[in-house]
Protein backbone atom coordinates (compact mmCIF):
# COMPACT_ATOMS: atom_id res chain seq x y z
CA UNK A 1 0.00 0.00 0.00
CA UNK A 2 1.49 3.30 -1.06
CA UNK A 3 1.02 6.61 0.72
CA UNK A 4 -1.32 7.59 -2.10
CA UNK A 5 -3.58 4.66 -1.23
CA UNK A 6 -3.40 5.49 2.46
CA UNK A 7 -4.51 9.07 1.76
CA UNK A 8 -7.48 7.91 -0.29
CA UNK A 9 -8.37 5.25 2.27
CA UNK A 10 -8.41 7.81 5.09
CA UNK A 11 -10.31 10.42 3.09
CA UNK A 12 -12.95 7.90 2.05
CA UNK A 13 -13.11 6.69 5.64
CA UNK A 14 -13.88 10.25 6.70
CA UNK A 15 -16.71 10.39 4.19
CA UNK A 16 -18.09 7.05 5.39
CA UNK A 17 -18.00 8.18 9.01
CA UNK A 18 -19.78 11.39 7.95
CA UNK A 19 -22.50 9.23 6.44
CA UNK A 20 -22.79 7.06 9.51
CA UNK A 21 -23.17 10.21 11.62
CA UNK A 22 -26.14 11.15 9.44
CA UNK A 23 -27.58 7.64 9.82
CA UNK A 24 -27.14 7.43 13.58
CA UNK A 25 -29.51 8.49 16.28
CA UNK A 26 -27.49 7.52 19.33
CA UNK A 27 -25.45 10.53 20.37
CA UNK A 28 -22.61 8.50 21.90
CA UNK A 29 -22.06 6.67 18.65
CA UNK A 30 -22.09 9.87 16.63
CA UNK A 31 -19.46 11.34 18.92
CA UNK A 32 -17.31 8.23 18.55
CA UNK A 33 -17.71 8.41 14.80
CA UNK A 34 -16.62 12.03 14.86
CA UNK A 35 -13.57 11.03 16.91
CA UNK A 36 -12.77 8.41 14.26
CA UNK A 37 -13.16 10.98 11.52
CA UNK A 38 -10.75 13.33 13.26
CA UNK A 39 -8.28 10.51 13.81
CA UNK A 40 -8.36 9.78 10.08
CA UNK A 41 -7.78 13.48 9.37
CA UNK A 42 -4.77 13.34 11.68
CA UNK A 43 -3.46 10.33 9.76
CA UNK A 44 -3.91 12.20 6.47
CA UNK A 45 -1.88 15.12 7.85
CA UNK A 46 0.84 12.80 9.17
CA UNK A 47 1.04 10.92 5.86
CA UNK A 48 1.46 14.14 3.90
CA UNK A 49 4.03 15.29 6.43
CA UNK A 50 6.09 12.16 5.80
CA UNK A 51 5.75 11.92 2.02
CA UNK A 52 6.24 15.57 1.16
CA UNK A 53 8.58 16.14 4.12
CA UNK A 54 6.55 19.06 5.40
CA UNK A 55 7.42 18.53 9.01
CA UNK A 56 5.26 21.35 10.33
CA UNK A 57 2.28 19.15 9.43
CA UNK A 58 3.23 16.80 12.26
CA UNK A 59 2.15 19.57 14.62
CA UNK A 60 -1.16 19.83 12.78
CA UNK A 61 -1.63 16.08 13.00
CA UNK A 62 -0.79 16.09 16.70
CA UNK A 63 -3.16 18.96 17.47
CA UNK A 64 -5.95 17.39 15.41
CA UNK A 65 -5.68 14.00 17.06
CA UNK A 66 -5.22 15.34 20.59
CA UNK A 67 -8.03 17.84 20.42
CA UNK A 68 -10.59 16.62 17.98
CA UNK A 69 -10.36 12.91 18.50
CA UNK A 70 -9.72 12.86 22.25
CA UNK A 71 -10.43 16.12 24.07
CA UNK A 72 -13.59 17.35 22.36
CA UNK A 73 -15.28 13.92 22.19
CA UNK A 74 -14.47 13.39 25.87
CA UNK A 75 -15.97 16.78 26.73
CA UNK A 76 -19.12 16.14 24.68
CA UNK A 77 -19.60 12.67 26.18
CA UNK A 78 -19.30 14.10 29.65
CA UNK A 79 -21.83 16.74 28.71
CA UNK A 80 -24.29 14.12 27.47
CA UNK A 81 -23.72 12.03 30.57
CA UNK A 82 -24.51 14.97 32.77
CA UNK A 83 -27.59 15.99 30.80
CA UNK A 84 -28.84 12.45 30.42
CA UNK A 85 -30.21 12.79 26.90
CA UNK A 86 -28.83 10.04 24.68
CA UNK A 87 -30.78 10.03 21.45
CA UNK A 88 -31.80 12.27 18.63
CA UNK A 89 -35.48 11.43 18.76
CA UNK A 90 -36.98 13.18 15.79
CA UNK A 91 -34.86 15.13 13.34
CA UNK A 92 -36.67 17.39 10.88
CA UNK A 93 -36.03 14.81 8.17
CA UNK A 94 -36.06 11.09 8.88
CA UNK A 95 -32.95 8.99 8.33
CA UNK A 96 -33.59 7.46 4.89
CA UNK A 97 -34.53 10.84 3.41
CA UNK A 98 -31.49 12.50 5.01
CA UNK A 99 -29.30 9.79 3.53
CA UNK A 100 -30.79 10.34 0.10
CA UNK A 101 -30.19 14.07 0.34
CA UNK A 102 -26.61 13.43 1.48
CA UNK A 103 -26.14 11.14 -1.52
CA UNK A 104 -27.14 13.99 -3.78
CA UNK A 105 -24.89 16.40 -1.90
CA UNK A 106 -21.92 14.05 -2.27
CA UNK A 107 -22.50 13.76 -5.99
CA UNK A 108 -22.65 17.55 -6.21
CA UNK A 109 -19.49 17.90 -4.13
CA UNK A 110 -17.62 15.40 -6.25
CA UNK A 111 -18.83 16.90 -9.50
CA UNK A 112 -17.84 20.40 -8.43
CA UNK A 113 -14.43 19.20 -7.29
CA UNK A 114 -13.50 18.26 -10.85
CA UNK A 115 -13.64 21.95 -11.74
CA UNK A 116 -10.71 22.90 -9.53
CA UNK A 117 -7.38 23.21 -11.32
CA UNK A 118 -5.73 21.53 -8.31
CA UNK A 119 -8.00 18.53 -8.68
CA UNK A 120 -6.31 16.99 -11.69
CA UNK A 121 -5.18 13.48 -11.12
CA UNK A 122 -4.70 11.13 -8.23
CA UNK A 123 -5.35 11.65 -4.59
CA UNK A 124 -5.96 15.39 -4.75
CA UNK A 125 -9.11 14.98 -6.79
CA UNK A 126 -10.51 12.65 -4.17
CA UNK A 127 -9.36 14.79 -1.27
CA UNK A 128 -11.17 17.85 -2.67
CA UNK A 129 -14.21 15.76 -3.59
CA UNK A 130 -14.46 14.22 -0.15
CA UNK A 131 -13.88 17.57 1.57
CA UNK A 132 -16.56 19.37 -0.45
CA UNK A 133 -19.02 16.53 0.14
CA UNK A 134 -18.33 16.57 3.87
CA UNK A 135 -18.73 20.33 3.93
CA UNK A 136 -22.17 20.03 2.34
CA UNK A 137 -23.15 17.09 4.55
CA UNK A 138 -22.08 19.01 7.65
CA UNK A 139 -24.16 22.03 6.67
CA UNK A 140 -27.12 19.81 5.87
CA UNK A 141 -26.79 18.09 9.24
CA UNK A 142 -26.71 21.46 10.94
CA UNK A 143 -30.04 22.57 9.55
CA UNK A 144 -31.94 19.29 9.84
CA UNK A 145 -31.09 18.21 13.37
CA UNK A 146 -32.78 19.56 16.44
CA UNK A 147 -30.39 18.50 19.15
CA UNK A 148 -27.77 21.06 19.99
CA UNK A 149 -25.08 18.40 20.38
CA UNK A 150 -25.61 17.10 16.85
CA UNK A 151 -25.37 20.65 15.58
CA UNK A 152 -22.03 21.06 17.31
CA UNK A 153 -20.86 17.83 15.68
CA UNK A 154 -22.07 19.13 12.32
CA UNK A 155 -20.05 22.29 12.80
CA UNK A 156 -17.00 20.22 13.66
CA UNK A 157 -17.55 18.06 10.57
CA UNK A 158 -17.51 21.19 8.43
CA UNK A 159 -14.32 22.21 10.23
CA UNK A 160 -12.75 18.83 9.47
CA UNK A 161 -13.66 19.21 5.81
CA UNK A 162 -12.01 22.60 5.59
CA UNK A 163 -8.93 21.24 7.32
CA UNK A 164 -8.76 18.33 4.90
CA UNK A 165 -8.51 20.73 1.95
CA UNK A 166 -6.09 22.99 3.79
CA UNK A 167 -3.78 20.11 4.63
CA UNK A 168 -4.12 18.02 1.51
CA UNK A 169 -4.24 20.51 -1.31
CA UNK A 170 -2.95 23.93 -0.31
CA UNK A 171 0.69 24.57 0.58
CA UNK A 172 -0.52 24.88 4.16
CA UNK A 173 -1.22 27.55 6.72
CA UNK A 174 1.27 29.25 9.03
CA UNK A 175 1.56 27.56 12.40
CA UNK A 176 0.17 30.60 14.21
CA UNK A 177 -3.03 30.50 12.15
CA UNK A 178 -3.36 26.79 12.77
CA UNK A 179 -2.96 27.18 16.51
CA UNK A 180 -5.46 30.04 16.38
CA UNK A 181 -8.01 27.88 14.59
CA UNK A 182 -7.42 25.02 17.00
CA UNK A 183 -8.08 27.20 20.02
CA UNK A 184 -11.02 28.81 18.25
CA UNK A 185 -12.58 25.40 17.78
CA UNK A 186 -12.05 24.32 21.36
CA UNK A 187 -13.41 27.59 22.74
CA UNK A 188 -16.39 27.34 20.39
CA UNK A 189 -17.13 23.82 21.60
CA UNK A 190 -16.81 24.88 25.24
CA UNK A 191 -19.10 27.86 24.76
CA UNK A 192 -21.60 25.77 22.82
CA UNK A 193 -21.42 23.12 25.53
CA UNK A 194 -22.32 25.69 28.15
CA UNK A 195 -25.11 26.93 25.87
CA UNK A 196 -26.44 23.39 25.54
CA UNK A 197 -26.53 23.06 29.28
CA UNK A 198 -28.37 26.34 29.58
CA UNK A 199 -30.89 25.24 26.96
CA UNK A 200 -31.44 21.98 28.80
CA UNK A 201 -31.81 23.79 32.13
CA UNK A 202 -34.40 26.09 30.66
CA UNK A 203 -36.43 23.74 28.45
CA UNK A 204 -35.65 20.28 29.86
CA UNK A 205 -34.66 19.30 26.34
CA UNK A 206 -31.84 19.80 23.88
CA UNK A 207 -34.28 20.62 21.12
CA UNK A 208 -33.19 23.95 19.64
CA UNK A 209 -36.44 24.36 17.74
CA UNK A 210 -38.03 25.21 21.08
CA UNK A 211 -35.89 28.32 21.22
CA UNK A 212 -38.20 29.91 18.69
CA UNK A 213 -41.19 29.66 21.02
CA UNK A 214 -41.94 32.63 23.15
CA UNK A 215 -42.12 31.83 26.80
CA UNK A 216 -44.12 34.02 29.14
Amino acid sequence: MTSHDLLILCAAGMLVSGYLIVGQKRLFTTIRLFALQSLLLGIVAATIAVTQSRHELFVTAGITIAMKSILIPWFLMRLIDRIGIHREIEPFLNVPVSLLVCLGLTVVGYRVSTGFPEAVGGARHHLIGVALSMLLIGMFLMVTRKKAITQILALLTVENAVFLVAVGVTPGMPLVVELGIAFDVIVAVLVLGIMVQRIVDRFDSMDVSRLSQLKG
Binding site: M1, H4, D5, I8, L9, A11, A12, G13, L15, V16, Y19, L20, G23, V95, P96, L99, L100, C102, L103, T106, V107, Y110, R111, T114, H126, G129, V130
Partner: protein
Amino acid sequence: MTPVLSDALRAFGLAALQAVFLLAMAPLLKTLIKMMKARLQNRQGPPLLQGYYDLAKLLRKETVRSETASWVFVAGPRVYFAAAVSATTLVPVLISAAPLEAAGGVLLLVGTLALGRFALATAALDTGSPFGGMGSSRDMTIAALAEPALMLGLFTSGLAAGTLNLGALARSALQHGVTFHPSDVLAFAGLFIIVLAETGRVPVDNPATHLELTMIHEAMLLEYSGPDLALVEWASAVKELLYLTLLVDLFMPVGMATSAEPVALLMALVAWAGKVFVLAIAVTITESMNAKLRLFRVPELVSISLGLAFLALTIRFL
Protein backbone atom coordinates in the same frame (compact mmCIF):
# COMPACT_ATOMS: atom_id res chain seq x y z
CA MET B 1 -12.27 -37.46 -24.87
CA THR B 2 -12.84 -34.09 -26.49
CA PRO B 3 -11.08 -31.10 -24.91
CA VAL B 4 -14.39 -29.39 -24.16
CA LEU B 5 -15.62 -32.36 -22.25
CA SER B 6 -12.40 -32.78 -20.26
CA ASP B 7 -12.44 -29.05 -19.43
CA ALA B 8 -15.96 -29.38 -18.16
CA LEU B 9 -15.05 -32.46 -16.13
CA ARG B 10 -12.09 -30.66 -14.59
CA ALA B 11 -14.26 -27.65 -13.73
CA PHE B 12 -16.80 -29.89 -12.04
CA GLY B 13 -14.06 -31.70 -10.16
CA LEU B 14 -12.63 -28.41 -8.92
CA ALA B 15 -16.12 -27.24 -8.03
CA ALA B 16 -16.70 -30.36 -5.95
CA LEU B 17 -13.36 -29.91 -4.20
CA GLN B 18 -14.05 -26.28 -3.40
CA ALA B 19 -17.58 -27.02 -2.18
CA VAL B 20 -16.27 -29.76 0.12
CA PHE B 21 -13.54 -27.45 1.38
CA LEU B 22 -15.97 -24.64 2.23
CA LEU B 23 -18.47 -27.09 3.73
CA ALA B 24 -15.71 -28.41 5.96
CA MET B 25 -14.51 -24.98 7.08
CA ALA B 26 -17.91 -23.34 7.63
CA PRO B 27 -18.80 -24.80 11.06
CA LEU B 28 -15.34 -23.81 12.26
CA LEU B 29 -15.93 -20.16 11.36
CA LYS B 30 -19.28 -20.15 13.10
CA THR B 31 -17.83 -21.58 16.31
CA LEU B 32 -14.83 -19.28 16.07
CA ILE B 33 -17.06 -16.19 16.07
CA LYS B 34 -19.10 -17.66 18.92
CA MET B 35 -15.92 -18.34 20.89
CA MET B 36 -14.39 -14.91 20.32
CA LYS B 37 -17.68 -13.31 21.33
CA ALA B 38 -17.74 -15.37 24.53
CA ARG B 39 -14.15 -14.39 25.31
CA LEU B 40 -15.03 -10.72 24.93
CA GLN B 41 -17.75 -11.26 27.53
CA ASN B 42 -15.32 -13.02 29.89
CA ARG B 43 -16.91 -16.40 29.26
CA GLN B 44 -15.12 -19.58 28.27
CA GLY B 45 -17.05 -20.19 25.06
CA PRO B 46 -17.49 -23.45 23.16
CA PRO B 47 -14.50 -25.53 22.02
CA LEU B 48 -13.50 -24.86 18.41
CA LEU B 49 -14.93 -28.13 17.15
CA GLN B 50 -18.36 -27.57 18.69
CA GLY B 51 -19.90 -26.76 15.32
CA TYR B 52 -18.98 -30.22 14.02
CA TYR B 53 -20.27 -31.95 17.17
CA ASP B 54 -23.59 -30.14 16.83
CA LEU B 55 -23.96 -31.12 13.20
CA ALA B 56 -23.04 -34.73 13.96
CA LYS B 57 -25.55 -34.84 16.77
CA LEU B 58 -28.34 -33.41 14.65
CA LEU B 59 -27.59 -35.77 11.76
CA ARG B 60 -27.94 -38.79 14.06
CA LYS B 61 -31.34 -37.74 15.43
CA GLU B 62 -34.65 -38.74 13.91
CA THR B 63 -36.74 -36.29 11.92
CA VAL B 64 -40.05 -35.16 13.36
CA ARG B 65 -42.38 -33.47 10.92
CA SER B 66 -45.70 -31.80 11.52
CA GLU B 67 -48.70 -33.75 10.18
CA THR B 68 -49.86 -30.74 8.20
CA ALA B 69 -46.52 -30.29 6.46
CA SER B 70 -46.43 -30.89 2.71
CA TRP B 71 -43.55 -31.59 0.34
CA VAL B 72 -42.63 -27.90 0.40
CA PHE B 73 -41.57 -28.32 4.01
CA VAL B 74 -39.39 -31.30 3.10
CA ALA B 75 -37.88 -29.61 0.07
CA GLY B 76 -37.06 -26.35 1.86
CA PRO B 77 -33.86 -27.31 3.68
CA ARG B 78 -32.64 -29.38 0.74
CA VAL B 79 -33.02 -26.54 -1.77
CA TYR B 80 -31.49 -24.11 0.72
CA PHE B 81 -28.51 -26.39 1.22
CA ALA B 82 -28.13 -27.07 -2.50
CA ALA B 83 -28.27 -23.34 -3.27
CA ALA B 84 -25.59 -22.57 -0.70
CA VAL B 85 -23.35 -25.36 -2.02
CA SER B 86 -23.75 -24.33 -5.65
CA ALA B 87 -23.05 -20.72 -4.70
CA THR B 88 -19.67 -21.83 -3.34
CA THR B 89 -18.62 -22.92 -6.81
CA LEU B 90 -19.12 -19.42 -8.22
CA VAL B 91 -16.69 -17.64 -5.92
CA PRO B 92 -12.91 -17.81 -6.18
CA VAL B 93 -11.43 -18.92 -2.86
CA LEU B 94 -7.78 -19.94 -3.11
CA ILE B 95 -7.12 -19.70 -6.84
CA SER B 96 -8.06 -16.56 -8.73
CA ALA B 97 -10.67 -18.43 -10.71
CA ALA B 98 -14.04 -19.74 -9.68
CA PRO B 99 -14.51 -23.40 -10.67
CA LEU B 100 -17.78 -22.81 -12.48
CA GLU B 101 -17.21 -19.22 -13.52
CA ALA B 102 -18.20 -20.05 -17.06
CA ALA B 103 -21.73 -20.54 -15.74
CA GLY B 104 -22.12 -16.98 -14.60
CA GLY B 105 -20.91 -14.23 -12.33
CA VAL B 106 -22.33 -11.88 -9.77
CA LEU B 107 -25.93 -12.09 -10.93
CA LEU B 108 -26.01 -15.87 -10.82
CA LEU B 109 -24.51 -15.82 -7.33
CA VAL B 110 -27.10 -13.37 -6.00
CA GLY B 111 -29.85 -15.31 -7.76
CA THR B 112 -28.73 -18.65 -6.34
CA LEU B 113 -28.67 -17.27 -2.82
CA ALA B 114 -32.10 -15.73 -3.37
CA LEU B 115 -33.43 -19.10 -4.51
CA GLY B 116 -32.26 -20.68 -1.27
CA ARG B 117 -33.84 -17.91 0.77
CA PHE B 118 -37.12 -18.28 -1.11
CA ALA B 119 -37.16 -22.04 -0.51
CA LEU B 120 -36.58 -21.62 3.22
CA ALA B 121 -39.17 -18.86 3.56
CA THR B 122 -41.88 -20.85 1.77
CA ALA B 123 -41.01 -23.95 3.79
CA ALA B 124 -41.38 -21.99 7.01
CA LEU B 125 -44.82 -20.82 5.87
CA ASP B 126 -45.85 -24.35 5.00
CA THR B 127 -46.58 -25.74 8.46
CA GLY B 128 -48.87 -22.84 9.27
CA SER B 129 -47.12 -22.14 12.55
CA PRO B 130 -47.37 -18.43 13.36
CA PHE B 131 -43.67 -18.14 14.13
CA GLY B 132 -42.66 -19.57 10.78
CA GLY B 133 -44.80 -17.06 8.94
CA MET B 134 -43.49 -14.21 11.05
CA GLY B 135 -39.91 -15.29 10.44
CA SER B 136 -40.36 -15.55 6.69
CA SER B 137 -42.11 -12.22 6.47
CA ARG B 138 -39.31 -10.52 8.39
CA ASP B 139 -36.57 -12.29 6.48
CA MET B 140 -38.12 -11.30 3.17
CA THR B 141 -38.56 -7.69 4.27
CA ILE B 142 -34.89 -7.42 5.07
CA ALA B 143 -33.84 -9.36 1.99
CA ALA B 144 -35.84 -7.09 -0.30
CA LEU B 145 -33.79 -4.17 0.98
CA ALA B 146 -30.47 -5.92 1.32
CA GLU B 147 -30.37 -7.53 -2.10
CA PRO B 148 -30.29 -4.30 -4.15
CA ALA B 149 -27.56 -2.98 -1.87
CA LEU B 150 -25.59 -6.20 -2.32
CA MET B 151 -25.94 -5.96 -6.09
CA LEU B 152 -24.90 -2.31 -6.18
CA GLY B 153 -21.87 -3.06 -4.04
CA LEU B 154 -20.86 -5.92 -6.31
CA PHE B 155 -21.46 -3.82 -9.43
CA THR B 156 -19.09 -1.18 -8.09
CA SER B 157 -16.24 -3.65 -8.11
CA GLY B 158 -17.44 -4.97 -11.45
CA LEU B 159 -17.35 -1.50 -12.94
CA ALA B 160 -13.71 -1.05 -11.96
CA ALA B 161 -12.66 -4.31 -13.58
CA GLY B 162 -15.06 -4.15 -16.50
CA THR B 163 -16.53 -7.58 -15.79
CA LEU B 164 -19.18 -9.10 -13.58
CA ASN B 165 -17.44 -12.45 -13.45
CA LEU B 166 -16.03 -12.98 -9.96
CA GLY B 167 -13.01 -14.96 -11.18
CA ALA B 168 -12.15 -12.33 -13.77
CA LEU B 169 -12.67 -9.63 -11.12
CA ALA B 170 -10.12 -11.19 -8.81
CA ARG B 171 -7.70 -11.76 -11.70
CA SER B 172 -7.86 -8.16 -12.88
CA ALA B 173 -7.35 -6.91 -9.32
CA LEU B 174 -4.29 -9.15 -8.98
CA GLN B 175 -2.92 -8.16 -12.37
CA HIS B 176 -3.21 -4.39 -12.03
CA GLY B 177 -2.42 -4.38 -8.36
CA VAL B 178 -4.95 -3.03 -5.93
CA THR B 179 -5.51 0.56 -6.95
CA PHE B 180 -7.39 2.40 -4.32
CA HIS B 181 -10.42 4.45 -5.11
CA PRO B 182 -12.72 6.02 -2.51
CA SER B 183 -15.62 4.04 -3.93
CA ASP B 184 -13.92 0.83 -2.73
CA VAL B 185 -14.09 2.04 0.85
CA LEU B 186 -17.72 3.10 0.46
CA ALA B 187 -18.68 -0.17 -1.19
CA PHE B 188 -16.85 -2.17 1.49
CA ALA B 189 -18.67 -0.33 4.27
CA GLY B 190 -21.98 -0.91 2.51
CA LEU B 191 -21.32 -4.58 1.85
CA PHE B 192 -20.14 -5.19 5.40
CA ILE B 193 -23.50 -4.02 6.74
CA ILE B 194 -25.21 -6.24 4.17
CA VAL B 195 -23.15 -9.23 5.28
CA LEU B 196 -24.27 -8.60 8.85
CA ALA B 197 -27.89 -8.40 7.70
CA GLU B 198 -27.77 -11.44 5.44
CA THR B 199 -26.06 -13.69 7.93
CA GLY B 200 -28.36 -12.69 10.78
CA ARG B 201 -25.75 -10.99 12.94
CA VAL B 202 -26.49 -8.69 15.83
CA PRO B 203 -27.67 -5.29 14.75
CA VAL B 204 -30.24 -7.10 12.61
CA ASP B 205 -30.88 -10.49 14.20
CA ASN B 206 -29.44 -12.31 17.17
CA PRO B 207 -28.11 -15.78 16.34
CA ALA B 208 -27.89 -16.69 20.03
CA THR B 209 -31.51 -16.41 21.12
CA HIS B 210 -34.91 -17.83 20.37
CA LEU B 211 -36.86 -14.88 21.68
CA GLU B 212 -40.26 -14.81 19.98
CA LEU B 213 -40.49 -11.07 19.57
CA THR B 214 -37.17 -10.52 17.90
CA MET B 215 -36.00 -13.62 16.07
CA ILE B 216 -35.86 -13.66 12.31
CA HIS B 217 -33.75 -16.51 10.99
CA GLU B 218 -34.36 -18.75 13.99
CA ALA B 219 -38.12 -18.29 13.68
CA MET B 220 -38.06 -20.02 10.32
CA LEU B 221 -36.23 -23.03 11.73
CA LEU B 222 -38.46 -23.67 14.73
CA GLU B 223 -40.34 -26.55 13.09
CA TYR B 224 -37.24 -28.34 11.88
CA SER B 225 -35.46 -31.11 13.70
CA GLY B 226 -32.77 -33.71 13.14
CA PRO B 227 -31.03 -33.92 9.76
CA ASP B 228 -33.28 -31.23 8.26
CA LEU B 229 -32.17 -28.77 10.91
CA ALA B 230 -28.56 -29.83 10.40
CA LEU B 231 -28.85 -29.05 6.69
CA VAL B 232 -30.20 -25.58 7.33
CA GLU B 233 -27.63 -24.78 10.02
CA TRP B 234 -24.81 -26.04 7.86
CA ALA B 235 -26.00 -24.11 4.82
CA SER B 236 -26.27 -20.92 6.91
CA ALA B 237 -22.71 -21.39 8.11
CA VAL B 238 -21.54 -21.93 4.52
CA LYS B 239 -23.38 -18.79 3.45
CA GLU B 240 -21.62 -16.78 6.12
CA LEU B 241 -18.20 -18.08 5.10
CA LEU B 242 -19.13 -17.38 1.49
CA TYR B 243 -20.02 -13.77 2.16
CA LEU B 244 -16.78 -13.17 4.04
CA THR B 245 -14.84 -14.84 1.21
CA LEU B 246 -16.65 -12.59 -1.24
CA LEU B 247 -15.55 -9.49 0.68
CA VAL B 248 -11.98 -10.82 0.68
CA ASP B 249 -12.11 -11.49 -3.08
CA LEU B 250 -13.45 -8.09 -3.97
CA PHE B 251 -11.49 -5.80 -1.72
CA MET B 252 -8.29 -7.56 -0.69
CA PRO B 253 -7.41 -10.26 -3.22
CA VAL B 254 -3.68 -9.97 -2.46
CA GLY B 255 -2.09 -13.35 -1.85
CA MET B 256 -4.44 -15.37 -4.00
CA ALA B 257 -2.77 -18.10 -6.04
CA THR B 258 -2.68 -17.59 -9.79
CA SER B 259 -1.72 -21.18 -10.59
CA ALA B 260 -2.36 -24.54 -9.01
CA GLU B 261 1.19 -25.14 -7.73
CA PRO B 262 1.23 -26.64 -4.22
CA VAL B 263 3.40 -23.89 -2.72
CA ALA B 264 1.26 -21.10 -4.14
CA LEU B 265 -1.87 -22.90 -2.96
CA LEU B 266 -0.49 -23.25 0.54
CA MET B 267 0.39 -19.56 0.66
CA ALA B 268 -3.07 -18.70 -0.65
CA LEU B 269 -4.65 -20.88 2.01
CA VAL B 270 -2.76 -19.05 4.75
CA ALA B 271 -3.61 -15.66 3.25
CA TRP B 272 -7.27 -16.55 2.83
CA ALA B 273 -7.57 -17.91 6.35
CA GLY B 274 -5.86 -14.83 7.75
CA LYS B 275 -8.10 -12.41 5.89
CA VAL B 276 -11.29 -14.27 6.78
CA PHE B 277 -10.09 -14.36 10.39
CA VAL B 278 -9.63 -10.58 10.39
CA LEU B 279 -13.14 -10.13 9.00
CA ALA B 280 -14.46 -12.57 11.61
CA ILE B 281 -12.87 -10.40 14.30
CA ALA B 282 -14.57 -7.36 12.79
CA VAL B 283 -17.92 -9.19 12.82
CA THR B 284 -17.37 -10.27 16.42
CA ILE B 285 -16.53 -6.76 17.57
CA THR B 286 -19.54 -5.23 15.81
CA GLU B 287 -21.70 -7.90 17.29
CA SER B 288 -20.39 -7.33 20.80
CA MET B 289 -20.50 -3.54 20.69
CA ASN B 290 -23.98 -3.06 19.30
CA ALA B 291 -27.39 -3.87 20.64
CA LYS B 292 -29.95 -5.50 18.37
CA LEU B 293 -32.00 -2.93 16.52
CA ARG B 294 -35.73 -2.82 16.75
CA LEU B 295 -37.18 -4.52 13.68
CA PHE B 296 -38.57 -1.27 12.34
CA ARG B 297 -35.16 0.36 12.61
CA VAL B 298 -33.50 -2.33 10.51
CA PRO B 299 -34.62 -0.79 7.20
CA GLU B 300 -32.83 2.39 8.29
CA LEU B 301 -29.59 0.46 8.76
CA VAL B 302 -29.97 -1.30 5.45
CA SER B 303 -30.82 1.98 3.73
CA ILE B 304 -27.50 3.34 5.00
CA SER B 305 -25.71 0.53 3.23
CA LEU B 306 -27.87 0.97 0.13
CA GLY B 307 -26.90 4.64 0.14
CA LEU B 308 -23.20 3.83 0.57
CA ALA B 309 -23.27 1.26 -2.22
CA PHE B 310 -25.13 3.59 -4.56
CA LEU B 311 -22.72 6.40 -3.80
CA ALA B 312 -19.77 4.10 -4.43
CA LEU B 313 -21.19 3.32 -7.85
CA THR B 314 -21.81 7.00 -8.63
CA ILE B 315 -18.37 8.21 -7.57
CA ARG B 316 -16.81 5.80 -10.05
CA PHE B 317 -18.17 8.00 -12.83
CA LEU B 318 -17.00 11.31 -11.39
